[in-house]
Amino acid sequence: MNAGEDMPAVLAEGLTKRFGDFVAVDHLDLRIGKGQVVGFIGPNGAGKSTTIRMLCGLLVPSAGRASVSGFDVGREPEAVRAHIGYMSQKFSLYGDMTVRENLRFFGGIYRVPKAQSAERMRFAISMAGLEGREDALVRTLAGGWKQRLALGCAILHRPPVLFLDEPTSGVEPQARRQFWDLIHELAAEHVTILVSTHYMDEAEYCNQVALIDRGKLVAIGTPGELRGHHLRGKLYEVRCMPLGGALKALAGMAGVAEAAIFGDRLHVVMTENGPDATQLSRLLADHGVQADSVREILPSLEDVFVQLVARGAERRVTS
């Protein structure tokens, strides 16, 4: 490999994909260091899958360039493919083959050295928790096992970079948790992992989070950085009844940057010199809304994301 120590595991410069008039990915720049777990967060259709597919060489970029493990995606796609593991969004192992047959097939395709083949298959089976079910047809397995087996197949050849496209969608919460434990075990062995998800809570498990909206990289950083830097103003949590009335009252209020319903309460973003908690509570009372509690809270990634996306939409409207 021609990669030096400071060579990023994944590098994208101006990566763009157009489907006709639709721009799925718009000049995306990305630099991911080795051993990082990077979360791609964004709504459906934001361009997460398209980006991952371009990085795996499955789609040809319309513009820009990318390299993975030091290999250029456009010029050396086969070298890239030999150095990555990929899990597509849709489950894609062979349902009419057994656990062992699937592993043996991918082991052959990735040319896992014969001497290590048995040991790696054993590892993949135990990682997926499928001991004793080696001869079960894969289509008979439940969601969580299928996903872990797919991961097992994708890492048989010990790739330095892993692309996981919404690996946990449709998987029950406990299985999701186990899956993330596996991801961190792999990261501990210096595997670089790029994982897309639309579960905000999963973003907290990542070293780096890349927020993507409408094909653009909106922000990238550690979860802490994103929470700290990107929220303009202070965040308050308001418990009150009725929520709808309160939201209406807040809409035109001076000093309120943003208000949104979060479950049974409101999250309200106040500008830096806007009203504080007690003032806000009083203002609400003036509008006939009795607030049970108003307190300043630390923003979650979801708050940041909602605000960033809203800001992007505003910019689009004004321009």
Binding site: L58, E78, S92, R111
Partner: protein
Amino acid sequence: MNIRRLLAMAFKETLQVWRDPRSLAVALLMPVMQMAILGYGVSLDIRHVPLCVYDQENSQASRAVAERFVSSGWFSVSHVISRYSGIARAMDRSECIAAIVIPANFSRTLASTGSAPVQAIFDATDVNTTNIALGYAQGVVAQANAQISAQWDAAHGVHPSQVGTVELDPSVWFNETLDSRYFIIPGVVAVILALVGAQLTSLTISREWERGTMEQLISTPVSALEVMLGKLIPYFVIGLLDAAFCLAAAIFWFKVPFRGNVAALFLTTALFNLVVLGIGYLISVRIRSQLGASQIALMVTMLPTTLLSGYTFPIDQMPAAIRALTYVVYPRYYVTILRGIFLKGSGLADLWAPMLGLSVYAVVIIWLASRAFEKRL
């Protein structure tokens, strides 16, 4: 090309065919069923054409004419009638295809002039059958004429040696009993191999697209060539097994005389198999749904093999434009070769022209197939 990846691919594909009831039925049941249906069902020979006899004279001579038709084996009398309208009625009901009318003065005219007309009426709704029946009728009449004129000459003191009767002594080669089954069954083998081969391979790529497994497969370092060869190897073996079954059935069950050599048969069958599998694979690469791919595969194999291969419809009798078209369709070459090997005992040297045609076809198709598949979404 890496042999390990190729084997992994071929093994996987074999497992999947083995576990797919649909593919298995196409691979194993279809040849048996088609061989039975086409082998027994398709025959261009017509026996016992139903004949309506309207004998206006009913003399010994006139009855002898009707008797000749029956004894030829081609006709059997379905109606004996005494009115013209009976012919129309019988034909309307499709109870007879041919009718003969022997006039009331038949024997008198025959005795005085040495010849007498007999009217023959045919139902030409089914032109093919009628043509064949007409041929049979002319044969019967010609035979009768020869005999009658000989008798007449004898009666009038003309010695046969003085007139010098000309007799045609036909000698039929290669299919001595003129059994159309011998002619058709080698073609049936071609039809079955084309259908089965293209059907199976037409599913092989489209199945992976449909099930979503293709996205995973193309993210691996497997090459397009490894995918193609790995997928075709199992079907090639299946195709050869099916061919062995069909050819054995043709020789041992349908008793089609086999006069050529087995090596030539094997070689050409392998070539034909390559063409058919390549075509199925090409379709599968282009059409990403299994249903669509199998429909198209059916069309591009069924139509040319049944209509343009010369399997039932003789190529020599086609209009020039269609005849030219038969050179473009692959089954023509294989059918010609099969008939040559089976009935004439031709060797590869005799069959160089269709062999060349088939080889060129195989090379072009496999070349196209190897370039068709791209590892892209």
